[in-house]
């Protein structure tokens, strides 16, 4: 039978070669965005080295985390949002729930982005906050703000994903204090701290010195383990890598190296593998290159599972690479804005084919500014159309067994391990932050990509193909500058009614706890939670932290 099959295949190949003989030499060799060479056709000869004897829901999870893919529950629709003060964002939360945005089993999922002053850790009255308050995220810094955030939502069935920056620990402390004021235990909290310290390798913002950045990350993990066991204390922000310019293969390699650096830091701090690794999760980018992206997600699951196993994780579910996709904003163009809807649809398609757990779809006008109500709804509806109309979620890993996809998955994995191994041999991701190596490699990749766009070698419709001189004059969503006054007033009112002596004393304790963390003699999070209970703001808690942990600018 085997020889019969192969003689049939050999005959087909001969016929194929004959059909293309006249023009084959003129075909230009193509490659993926990551630079992997592509053939025009793949056959079973390409998958002889692949392990096709795998099933979804079973280690190494190449075909997905769950045995039946999306059949039991579809991916979570986790639209990023947040603007103005909490009052504006609260209205938006209610609106998104009314629009049908939901997570697993109907849970509410709020993927709330902070404005950059909050992320950086300055309150609304700081001079450097001017121009950025409530603009590209919500301004939340006081206990009142957090009370309003959690008001009336059922804590058992509501996920708060807080897209923070360096204010990650103060933000969690403020949330915990608000939950306590409701009379509920912090153990009921569900959601996610980003804990994105290692993003400083690619995002150009000042942050903690590397040794303290990792210490703070672990401090949050430990607090969450004791006080909010369902909380996801770390997100590995691979999206930051690809948006900075990493190719999909680099995103895999550096992202997994980032993850390994968190695992290593946790193990060094005495945590047991099964106690924290299963709570790590990922946010990953997704461009319009459908097959390369789908293969990336498949390779990612299998590589992470292997890393977890090597680190000593024993429970299979703790080896799950749980992935939230944020569709790439970099690929959206300001030229001919509506074209971005086609890009977003392809990005979402790739993420779903890749079997991810949660998706944020960018809005077509994000190349201009903050999305309008309409563009934000259209982005959500794009997910919902894929979810309900396309049939995409009926079958787990529908591309599994495809000669091309299996080969591409294998090749991307092999290339990513090479970069990963080199970085590990040189001291790992943390060392890569200190030396700037990770940033340099990604910046160089970004520059090479841009040169290809400038020359037209990489076609971008509306930018270097089918260019139009017509003005778009698109009017984006505006957050009125008066929001800055409103935020300052809210802050003043909050400060006026609190017990200032209690706040001052709590901040002294925070300062002491920062030193204790540096000395390895005690945690910081409990002091921050206490400061939040007594009324300290986001920016106030960050002052002693900045003094203690340095302020490291990498460029």
């Amino acid at each position: 039978m085997t020889s019969l099959l192969s003689s049939k295949f050999e005959a087909a190949k001969e016929a194929w070669a004959a059909r293309r003989a006249r023009y084959a030499s003129r075909l230009r060799p193509a490659s993926t965005v990551s630079g992997l060479p592509l053939k025009t056709v793949y056959t079973r000869e390409d998958v002889t080295g692949s392990d096709l004897d795998v099933m979804p829901g079973v280690y190494p999870f190449t075909r997905g985390l769950h045995p039946d893919g999306y059949a039991l529950t579809p991916w979570m629709q986790q639209m990023v949002f947040g603007y103005g003060t909490i009052e504006e964002t609260r209205q938006k939360m209610e609106k998104m729930v009314a629009e049908g945005m939901e997570g697993y089993f109907g849970h509410k999922v709020f993927n709330t982005v902070y404005d950059v002053p909050c992320m950086y850790g300055i309150d609304a009255d700081h001079p450097e906050a001017v121009g950025n308050i409530g603009q590209c995220g919500v301004h939340m810094s006081t206990g009142d703000d957090y009370d309003e955030l959690v008001r009336d939502w059922e804590l058992d069935s509501t996920n708060f994903s807080m897209i923070t920056g360096d204010n990650c620990l103060p933000a969690l402390a403020l949330l915990a204090a608000a939950v306590e004021r409701r009379g509920e235990p912090t153990a009921k909290m569900h959601g996610n701290s980003m804990n994105w310290y290692p993003r400083i390798a690619v995002q150009d913002v000042p942050s903690w010195e590397p040794q303290w950045g990792y210490a703070l990350m672990i401090d949050l993990i430990k607090w969450a383990k004791e006080n909010a066991p369902d909380w996801n204390p770390v997100n590995i922000f691979m999206y930051g890598l690809s948006e900075a310019g990493a190719t999909p293969v680099q995103e895999l390699a550096y992202g997994l190296s980032w993850g390994k650096s968190v695992i290593d830091a946790g193990l060094e701090a005495g945590l047991a593998p099964d106690d924290f690794i299963g709570r790590l999760s990922f946010q990953i980018g997704c461009t319009v290159n459908v097959f390369e992206e789908a293969a990336k997600f498949r390779a990612h699951r299998r590589m992470w599972a292997k890393l977890c196993k090597d680190a000593g994780v024993t429970k299979p579910s703790h080896m799950h690479a749980r992935v939230h996709v944020h569709t790439s904003g970099y690929v959206l163009t300001q030229q001919q804005l509506m074209n971005n809807n086609a890009r977003i649809t392809l990005q979402t398609l790739a993420a779903v084919l890749g079997g991810v757990q949660s998706i944020h779809t960018c809005s077509y006008d994000e190349a201009v500014g903050v999305p309008t109500e309409e563009s934000h709804r259209t982005a959500l509806r794009t997910q919902q159309i894929l979810m309900w109309e396309s049939g995409l979620r009926d079958v787990a890993d529908p591309l599994g067994g495809s000669y091309f996809l299996e080969k591409l998955t294998d090749d991307m994995e092999a290339e990513a391990w090479k970069i990963f191994d080199d970085l590990e041999a040189a001291g790992g991701y943390r060392r890569g932050i200190e030396t700037g190596e990770v940033k340099r490699s990604i910046d160089n990749a970004s520059y090479e990509m841009k040169k290809k766009i400038n020359s037209g070698e990489t076609p971008i419709v509306g930018v270097n193909r089918y260019v139009s001189d017509e003005q778009e004059n698109y009017e984006p969503f505006r957050i009125d500058e008066s929001i800055e006054d409103k935020a300052r007033t809210r802050l003043e009112n909050y400060r006026a009614k609190r017990d200032q002596a209690a706040v001052d004393a709590a901040l002294v304790d925070v300062r002491r706890a920062c030193q204790a963390l540096k000395d390895g003699t005690g945690p910081l999070m409990p002091a921050l939670v206490e400061a939040a209970r007594r009324g300290a703001t986001n920016g106030e808690m960050m002052v002693p932290m900045r003094e203690a942990f340095g302020w490291y600018v990498s460029e």
Partner: protein, 135 residues
Amino acid sequence: MSEEHIKVLLAKKKIDVHGRGSKLIARELRDAGMEVVYFRFGVAEEIAEAALQEDVDVVAVSIMTSGQMQIARELVPALKKRGMDQVLVIMGGIIPEVDFEPLRELGVHRSFPPGLPGGVVADYIRENAGTVTLV
């Protein structure tokens, strides 16, 4: 000014995340033969001070997370206060096209959308540096 040495202060706010665009334009202006000083600022006044100290021909501000209007409103008077009324002021990044004209009225000579080849910006600088007055 086309044959002369051109020095550009490329300013980006410290809390403005995602430096991909600003770092690309820094490289592309360098490729075009210009000297680029990459500068992170807290408030707009600091840009003017750096522009004076570095004695630049061009002040370019990269915007990712908004604030272009407030920056322009403070930056242009701060430059004039220091006697730098011959400096060319440009902006680029995530700025709505409809803001380009209001920015021009505030004294920003030209604004650019994201994603353009850096050569387009370099050509504009070469044609206009040294020929403008801040209004």
